[in-house]
Assembly symmetry: D2
Homo-oligomer: 142 residues x 4
């Protein structure tokens, strides 16, 4: 995350204390107006014996991207539930790109979708459901 | 994972090549007859600024436990889709325990639920949907 | 629904104004302590050209059973989200039996699973997520 | 469904034997190239005591719209699983409009989203996951 990119201040604050992005090598490139984009390179310690990335880490990338999108509005959002559909496995060395778009907001509830791609291919479709908090007990990524 | 515990051979084979369990410190304790149990301790590099574990890592624990349960039958299973509902945040130092039970199988399709707890408290409920493969292209955890 | 069966008063009140159970021929047999059971016979106006019941009506049966289970606690519950996995098609003339069990409650949130069977066979697995209201704006089935 | 509207032949065939659209008053307006639109008016026999439409019927509308979209490609598709998030209740007399867009296809798997609106307001977001069959055992709506 470089300073020049448009990442909302509320998301910067959220990411400052976050250690998981570092653990997984997730780079947040953009987070504003309910949308965001983040990337993760599939490292050797992220794959199984078939050199395929663990589905939980694909989910983690999507979940982080979701959290950046929905927290870009300001008030902290907690993830209530989420689902993921796996279309194609990601492999060792792949750079996965996740893009989040908030689809619907009503009251404190919201729905935000994330597509994870490798190049042109869709790896996974993620949908998260969140609730905005009234205070600052927020947590990124669930 | 110690040798004495009842982990099906198909799951041992699957886990041998897996690097993610090591990355996340996931311990598989049991995997047999469509059921399994695994644990993960929440480390400092797994939390956000509020000392709360990243939802994606809770999902990863559940997804791994799911994979161990459904692969205990023998033929490799790929995760088609999964969802998670977060009930309570896990915190730094918590030992999360995930228990998987296969609910339904029909043809090559199956549904398997995982409950993640910290002590008596439910942290998350996970449901995975998988498909058994005919050959050995399987991958753990998605 | 006969008077002799153990249906919580809060559920009876909910069902009194409900017209959909009549439309779909859903019979609530039991609703107490977060559990419930309901049945629906697949009529000729519920199937497609292959004599297979519409998935939405299987969902409706499950959703009603969910609503009865979670409203049996007393305070009205609204469905926040739900998912269904179809294992086997139901056919014309089948009597579908749905059984709901609340899996987890925390604060005002809850998760409740419904299994829909025809005889011994599982037709579908449903999971609903609800939130208890503080007042009486509740609605059955979503 | 009038003859003039662009409904793919495969969808027309599917709808011919379908009785549920009639039961629920669902009108399919469009179904082509993986997209579709259908409407349903909330009748007195579709609501609860608060004059709010049953969530299962909102799901049924979305599921039908999903089926029309994914079957517009030709080979019959069965619904594997689906989820719905309720944002706002629909009421007696509302005309609900569902619009489906296929998001991803890979091999025989596909993901298709449906948004249900009343006027400008989003009532529900639906996501369905389907699998194309090789033969003609297809069924609409699940």
């Amino acid at each position: 995350m470089t300073e020049e990119l448009p990442v909302a201040q509320s998301v910067r604050t959220m990411l400052e204390g976050d250690r998981t992005c570092e653990l997984l090598g997730i780079q947040v490139e953009f987070a504003k107006d309910g949308q965001s984009r983040a990337t993760m390179r599939v490292r050797p310690d992220m794959v199984n014996g078939h050199a395929i990335v663990h589905g939980g880490l694909v989910f983690s990338l999507a979940d982080t991207t979701f959290a950046c999108a929905v927290n870009s509005y300001g008030p902290p959002v907690v993830t209530a539930s989420a689902d993921v559909t796996y279309l194609r496995p990601g492999s060792l060395g792949d750079v996965l790109v996740a893009e989040a778009v908030t689809r619907a907001r009503r009251g404190r509830s919201l729905v935000c979708d994330v597509t994870v791609r490798c190049g042109e291919e869709i790896i996974a479709e993620f949908r998260g459901r969140g609730a905005q908090l009234k205070d600052d007990r927020g947590r990124p990524g669930g």
